[in-house]
């Protein structure tokens, strides 16, 4: 059994990071270029890490499956990025951002990590502005803020509805600068398929060249995974088509513990389904809830057009249930409330949707002001649905969006495999059981710009690295495993397409491991996933061959991993006999239907160790709360 050491520094929470930085060993500037660091993924966490490490003088190898480092799904984040700048003079502070994040995560995150996140949040904004990120500004030329769910202060910085794009392009430009400087070697159109562990340390990765099909080996002194989350296990999610869990899953199978896999976030404001061919779900930024009001009819099965339903027959259910946070209640609570009213048969025109209405805001602020704030979001909505949200309320529905779970990391962001670091959404560290809006961008950039440049130095400075080449037998072994898996997938030639099986998995996950879960459903899900996995390996069809660009083979590999990860998510959800944040177990709720935590028995991080097919060993990392008082979250 692995013993988890979170390496949380001693001392007062406000001084932990400062003291820790002082105690970390440094690598002499002249020696930095002797170390090779492999970064997988070039989203916010990856690009910022690769660029910052390159600037420090390390030799960095950056690998992405995209054709360009500018495409990662961080780019789709719309609403904004939180930072405790308190520019608005409305009572914000590092401590309040820390407090809100721990509370928003329903007390299932590490206090020390979250405090550090809040502490560096201001530096992120400074850095991005210096790179030329065109944040929204006031007429006086200073930065503007808006509010997001789970907070009563305005601390969210934004760039119209394209904040993620602008932040990623900032990090991408910093990365491009290092590519030009020669400190970063960038390999595009490569998909990492495994890590290579030698003498107990992560010493390299194996990737498939997606154009030629060649299996390529890369050696390094450390490997950093910044490969995002796994919400595509649901097939339909707001994640991009290529987002996948392969990198973290294969690292998991090589010994990295997977923490809190069942903590998934279902985002309340996405566009509803249009039909069977739907390939993904589109998010409408949470920032819309600043001005939009969410409602359904008070009547069951009300088929009237929304504009024909009079005010007194509308139920603004979030405002009714949570008067102090109203439409800006946290995501998990808002999503579940929407599901409740839809389950009661009160969905918009009988569909799986609720209304998000801007009529009042347009009356109050004028159409022009709304256009300025949300213009591009309204356009997206109209392009996809063909309806004009200035005239007819938007229809929205919750959708899988983000995964709080991920590879277990210590305070230095290192996994249980020495030398394997995990940043951004791919790790589990900062959001507990529910992430607050505008905090994903913050975490990705905090990890990449301001945490890993310090902590990786300590690891490199304190290890002895025997020389390793790609000729090492462990590389050869991994190469062979990968080739065999590809050959197997290509040779089955069965009846079911990869997408068809992925959709089936998605339906199991959505209905039984989704927004609300129960023991019976989870036990069924585990069996159904096993069956589906069997079907996949017996009867899937993958066309073409491995020595060429083959998108079907790429997807098959990813779905094979989802079919294992999905099971672990259900196992974790079944074992966690409490409700917290995004994990809602129907058996554990308060009288008024809120999540009921069990702090006595489940105040821990569940870290799972892979022990063979369908077998995992559970290790618990107890969570101590010295600063934030545990209480039932209340947004009423």
């Amino acid at each position: 059994m692995i013993k988890l050491d979170s390496k949380i520094p001693d001392g007062n929470i406000a001084e932990k990071w400062t003291n820790h930085k002082f105690n970390l060993k440094l690598v002499n500037p002249a020696n930095k270029r002797k170390y090779n660091i492999i970064v997988i993924g070039t989203g916010l966490a990856g690009a910022s890490a690769a660029a910052s490490l390159g600037e420090l003088g390390y030799n960095v190898t950056a690998i992405t499956y995209h054709d360009s480092a500018r495409r990662a799904h961080s780019i789709s984040a719309q609403g904004g990025i939180n930072a405790a700048k308190n520019y608005q003079n409305d009572g914000d502070s590092v401590y309040r951002l820390f407090y809100d994040t721990v509370k928003g995560g329903d007390y299932r995150a590490r206090e020390a990590n979250v405090y550090r996140l809040a502490e560096v949040s201001g530096n992120i904004i400074d850095q991005c502005v210096a790179q030329g990120v065109p944040f929204a500004r006031e007429y006086g030329g200073l930065l503007d803020n808006r509010s997001f769910g789970g907070a009563q202060v305005s601390r969210t910085f934004y760039a119209r509805g394209q904040t993620g794009q602008q932040l990623l392009l900032g990090a991408y430009s910093a990365l491009a600068r290092q590519v030009n400087a020669g400190t970063v070697k960038l390999y595009t159109r490569r998909e990492m398929l495994d890590i290579v562990v030698i003498d107990g340390m992560a010493r390299g990765v194996v990737a498939r060249n997606m154009v030629t099909g060649e299996i390529e080996n890369y050696t390094g002194n450390a490997v950093i995974l910044t490969t995002g989350g796994y919400a595509n296990v649901f097939f339909l999610s707001t994640n991009a088509m290529m987002c996948n869990a392969t990198a973290i899953w294969r690292a998991h199978k090589k010994g990295a513990l997977f923490a809190n896999p069942c903590f998934t976030q279902i985002h309340p404001t996405c566009l509803p389904l249009h039909g069977e061919s739907q390939s993904k779900l589109t998010l409408m930024s949470e920032s819309l809830r600043n001005d939009g009001r969410i409602w359904v009819s008070k009547l069951k099965g009300d088929m009237r057009e929304p504009n024909d339903i009079p005010e007194e027959e509308r139920d603004y259910f979030l405002e009714r249930k949570y008067p102090s946070y109203g439409n800006l209640s946290p995501r998990d609570i808002s999503s579940r409330s929407a599901k409740e009213v839809i389950d009661e048969g009160r969905g918009a025109k009988g569909q799986e949707a609720v209304y998000l209405d801007f009529e009042d805001a347009i009356k109050r602020l004028g159409r022009k002001a709304i256009e300025e704030k949300y213009g591009n979001l309204f356009e997206i909505y109209q392009t996809i649905t063909g309806e004009d949200p200035y005239k007819v309320p938007m229809k929205i529905y919750p959708a899988p969006h983000y995964t709080m779970g991920g590879l277990w990391v210590d305070y230095n962001l290192m996994s249980t495999i020495p030398g394997l670091f995990v940043l951004g959404e791919a790790n589990f560290s900062d959001h507990g059981a529910n992430r607050l809006g505008a905090s994903a961008l913050m975490q990705g950039l905090a990890d990449g710009y301001f945490v890993i440049p310090y902590t990786i130095g300590d690891y490199l400075a304190t290890q002895k690295f025997p020389s390793v080449t790609t000729g090492h037998e462990n590389f050869k072994m991994v190469d062979q495993e990968i080739s065999e898996t590809a050959e197997k997938l290509l040779s089955i030639k069965g009846k079911h397409t990869v997408d068809e099986i992925h959709k089936k998995l998605g339906r199991i996950m959505w209905h039984k491991v989704g927004m609300s879960r129960n023991a019976k459903g989870l036990a069924e899900a585990i069996e159904e996933i096993k069956e589906l996995r069997k079907l996949f390996w017996q009867d899937v069809i993958v066309t073409g061959n491995g020595e060429e660009l083959n998108q079907t083979l790429e997807r098959a590999g990813r779905v094979a991993d989802y079919l294992e990860l999905g099971e672990l998510m259900a196992v974790d959800a079944l074992h966690r006999e409490e409700s917290c944040g995004g994990h809602f177990r129907e058996e554990y709720q308060t009288e008024d239907g809120e999540a009921k935590r069990d702090d006595e028995n489940f105040r821990y991080v569940a870290a799972w160790e892979f022990a063979g097919e369908s077998k995992w060993k559970l290790t618990k990392e107890p969570l101590e709360f010295e600063y934030v008082k545990l209480s039932q979250r209340s947004y009423k």
Partner: protein, 256 residues
């Protein structure tokens, strides 16, 4: 549902690799008008895979019009017939039952075909690497509010920064010019005080690499702006030309 479906004839460009000849292949599809264009191709590919036939290779990722990965020439137009959207945002309700649709890759000298509808646009990254950034190391930034920037300037910089790097401007241009793409980045950074110190060096370096990579010259047809999914303005090209001339006059680092 299928009663309302559109029955379409697709003529899709198929090409094994950069050095092999390509041709159009015909496919018949029936698709819901609510589906997106790329979902139609997903359905087609699912059917082809089921029959162990080779699917059509095409790229897409976010399917929200922001990542810039997708890009098809549809009936001769990059990103299709509807202005100011990327291919992934095009929905089938914009087509009529019985339509024939030609689907081709983005074509340009600097964008060699990799396979079918996938092209290599990495030249755009090479141009950014030449100078499309502010040289500021992590940690050395001043407070974000230390330098006020007027709302109008920030907004204009944003308009230029909204480029998604899809390459539609290059594909639309008869010369295969990347001037709109390059000028958007030059403008974005030249407008902001943070980008000011390096403005001359930047424009010279980016233009030099752009020319080396085989992107064509700009002859002011403005088709790039017309086809740009983000509506990036050709005013940026004028601004870049001005920056470039200024650089040539003032810069001390120019090679002759």
């Amino acid at each position: 549902m299928s009663g309302n479906n559109l029955n379409l004839k697709l003529k899709i460009w198929k090409q094994k690799g950069p050095n092999t000849a390509g041709s159009f292949v015909n496919y018949d599809v029936s698709v819901s008008p609510d589906a997106s264009f790329l979902e139609m191709l997903d359905e087609l590919n699912d059917r082809l895979e089921r029959n162990n036939e080779e699917p059509v290779s095409f790229e897409s990722d976010c399917r929200e019009g922001i990542c810039g990965t997708c890009g098809l020439v549809i009936n001769g137009l990059p990103h299709g017939p509807i202005p100011k959207i990327a291919t992934c945002q095009l929905h089938m309700r914009n087509f009529k039952d019985g339509d024939t649709i030609y689907i081709e890759p983005f074509r340009a000298k600097a964008f060699p075909v990799i396979k079918d509808l996938i092209v290599d646009r990495s030249g755009l990254d090479r141009v950014i690497e030449a100078g499309g950034y502010v040289s500021v190391n992590t940690g050395s930034a001043v407070d974000a509010n230390a330098i006020p920037i007027s709302k109008d300037v920030a907004s204009e910089a944003f308009d230029a920064a909204a480029c998604i790097g899809c390459g539609a401007c290059v594909a639309a241009c008869k010369n295969g010019s990347a001037m709109l793409f390059v000028s958007a980045k030059v403008s974005h950074l030249a407008l902001l005080p943070q980008g000011y110190p390096e403005r001359f060096k930047r424009v010279e370096a980016m233009v030099k690499v752009m020319d080396e990579l085989g992107f064509g010259a700009c002859t002011n047809t403005y088709v790039c702006e017309a086809e740009c999914p983000k509506g990036i303005s050709v005013k940026n090209i004028a601004r870049m030309n001005r920056e470039f001339i200024n650089a040539k006059i003032k810069s001390k680092t120019v090679e002759v």
